[in-house]
């Protein structure tokens, strides 16, 4: 084993190095889980060990259906806030009637997927980490293994598939509610009718804008599920460890969502 560094700079660099290696290992674990989940989804039936659809549907209910009210409310709130700020800024140039263009782009391409992803990470990503972490310390994952039930097929694949279905659906709902609420505000503030507002949105938005927003939501769904599972599976130390893993999964998922958004927007403008 390598010697521990004796000076503070050495110890700092050593710490950074170890954290980097641990992070790469976690990313690798996550990648393997995604690949294994896809494997079971495609080949599970042939091996008489399918991914259970009722488990997927149950997860879709938990992740998606029960989140509709909060995501609709926050999507609407964010869009109205953006409309208010947009009108305030453009009024300086006398161009407040063009607020619809910026609003449509930013809500559909960025904010609807991001807000949805962040909310799902906080609600469902943390629940996934807590569930798997608790199962680990209670030996329930070992119990699955000794019963010949693959833990990835049973615990990872259903929430991953459910997130890939529900996060884009929630994003569409969030964008729709958000644009509608913003349209109501614009109608009150600027006198633009909802029909005219809708015509403007349809004229401005291209299919690629919608696909970019939905594509990001799919990436966020995978990040939320994998980060939740990896943190849950690495729990040590009982209930306190579960709490730490839960918090960590939310922080990491939100960070991953925001960084991914930045990377995608940079790449899309190259």
């Amino acid at each position: 084993m390598a010697q521990e560094p004796t000076n503070s700079v050495g110890r700092f660099l050593d710490h950074i190095g170890r954290m980097t290696i641990a992070g790469i290992e976690e990313v690798g674990n996550g990648g393997v889980m995604v690949a294994e989940s896809l494997y079971w989804l495609i080949f599970g039936h042939r091996m008489k060990q399918p991914v259970r659809m009722n488990a997927v549907i149950q997860q879709m209910m938990d992740i998606g259906i029960t989140a509709i009210p909060i995501i609709a409310m926050l999507g609407g709130a964010i869009s109205v806030t953006l409309a208010i700020q947009g009108i305030y800024t453009l009024r300086i140039f006398g161009a407040e009637s063009h607020v619809t263009a910026g609003l449509a782009f930013i809500v559909v391409r960025e904010f609807a997927p991001m807000i949805t992803g962040i909310l799902v990470a906080g609600r469902s990503g943390s629940a996934l980490a807590a569930r798997i972490g608790t199962m680990k310390i209670n030996q329930e994952i070992d119990a699955l293994k000794v019963m010949g039930i693959n833990p990835v097929r049973y615990l990872v694949a259903p929430p991953l598939i459910a997130m890939l279905i529900m996060v884009p659906c929630l994003t569409i709902m969030s964008a729709s509610v958000g644009l509608f609420m913003a349209g109501v505000y614009i109608n009150v503030e600027l006198g633009i009718s909802l029909a005219a507002y809708l015509d403007q949105i349809i004229d401005i938005l291209k299919v690629e804008d919608v696909f970019q927003g939905l594509g990001k939501s799919c990436i966020y769904a995978v990040e939320i599920a994998v980060i939740g599972v990896v943190n849950g599976a690495s729990v040590r130390g009982g209930a306190e460890g579960v709490g730490k893993a839960t918090t960590q999964s939310v922080v990491q998922a939100i960070s991953a969502i925001i960084v991914t958004a930045m990377i995608v927007v940079i790449l899309s403008t190259l």
């Binding site: 084993m1 199962m135 209670n138 030996q139 329930e140 070992d142 039930i149």
Partner: protein
């Protein structure tokens, strides 16, 4: 469960079938740099109850996890039901797993499922039986462990002894050839512990299971064991019948069976040096 048979009357039967269901040779395992098992060689015979005993840190739980094929070994060979587990493909491994049952120390029941759903889970995942048949089979196994009528309760609503019984029911629902029990009596009062011992004996007798039990409860071990394996610091000290173990002249076995604590042979100066971090001879600070 009815009257339990005296253990001694079944020793001859347990050995009569011959053949080993588990064969371990030269098993070595590490956790990091620490060697836990030092070349363990043992077997479990068809239809017998093998009790693995040892002090804390002796490696008995690690050995059990290897026998359950839950851990990767450093070296050695292991055959379960005649199959070398290193040579098995993933599908063959799953087929082997269906013949094993495990009752964990904490029960390891799934908290989101009812007791009945917990017991049914192996049937649900590995058979094409319809729901009604699975429910009937689950109820039958719960009756075997005296938990009939409790199938709709959640695990959080059960007592410690009931959780262990439910775990047994789940472990035997597929009628396994080998049953593993990790500290079945741990944390239970003597009456409940004795009832579980009777259950283990009944499962061997009625279902002709081979059973591996890890325990440090001497009373329980002597009640149920056909043979006992004694581990100490990763080594097997002895494998033998209850009488052979009791008559052993090995000092460590004697100390284990008679609950003699280990002598503290540490030098006082060495102990103080370890506490303060000081060098023993020079007296200079090492911090």
């Amino acid at each position: 469960m009815g009257d339990s048979k005296q253990n001694s009357t079944n020793v001859a039967d347990a050995g009569a079938n011959g053949g080993s269901v588990i064969e371990v040779e030269g098993l070595v395992t590490h956790y990091g740099d620490r060697q836990i098992l030092n070349g363990v060689t043992m077997d479990v015979r068809d239809g017998e109850i093998m009790v693995i005993m040892g002090g804390s840190g002796s490696g008995k739980s690690t050995l059990l996890r290897h026998l359950m094929a839950l851990e990767a070994k450093t070296s050695g060979t292991m055959r379960i039901l005649g199959q070398d587990i290193d040579q098995l493909g993933s599908l063959e491994f799953v087929e082997l797993r269906k013949k094993l049952g495990v009752a964990f120390q904490s029960g390891a029941l799934f908290s989101s499922l009812t007791v009945g759903e917990n017991v049914m889970l192996p049937l649900y995942e590995h058979t094409d039986l319809d729901r009604m048949t699975m429910e009937i089979m689950a109820r039958m196994k719960l009756e075997v462990v005296s938990l009939g009528g409790f199938e709709n309760l959640m695990p959080a609503e059960l007592s410690g002894g009931m959780i262990k019984r439910a775990a047994f029911a789940r472990a035997i629902v597929m009628d396994p050839k080998i049953l593993f029990c990790d500290e079945p009596s741990a944390g239970l009062d003597p009456a409940v512990a004795s009832a579980l011992d009777d259950l283990i004996l009944a499962m061997r007798d009625a279902m002709r299971m081979s059973i591996v039990v890890v325990t440090h409860e001497l009373e329980s071990a002597f009640k149920i064991a056909d043979r006992i394996t004694i581990l100490d610091r990763g080594d097997i000290l002895m494998i033998g019948t209850i009488d052979e173990v009791k008559k052993s002249s090995n000092e460590r076995i004697y100390n284990l069976l008679n609950r003699v604590p280990e002598e503290d042979t540490m030098d006082t100066d060495e102990y103080l040096a370890r506490l303060t971090g000081e060098e023993l001879e020079t007296g200079s600070q090492t911090l």
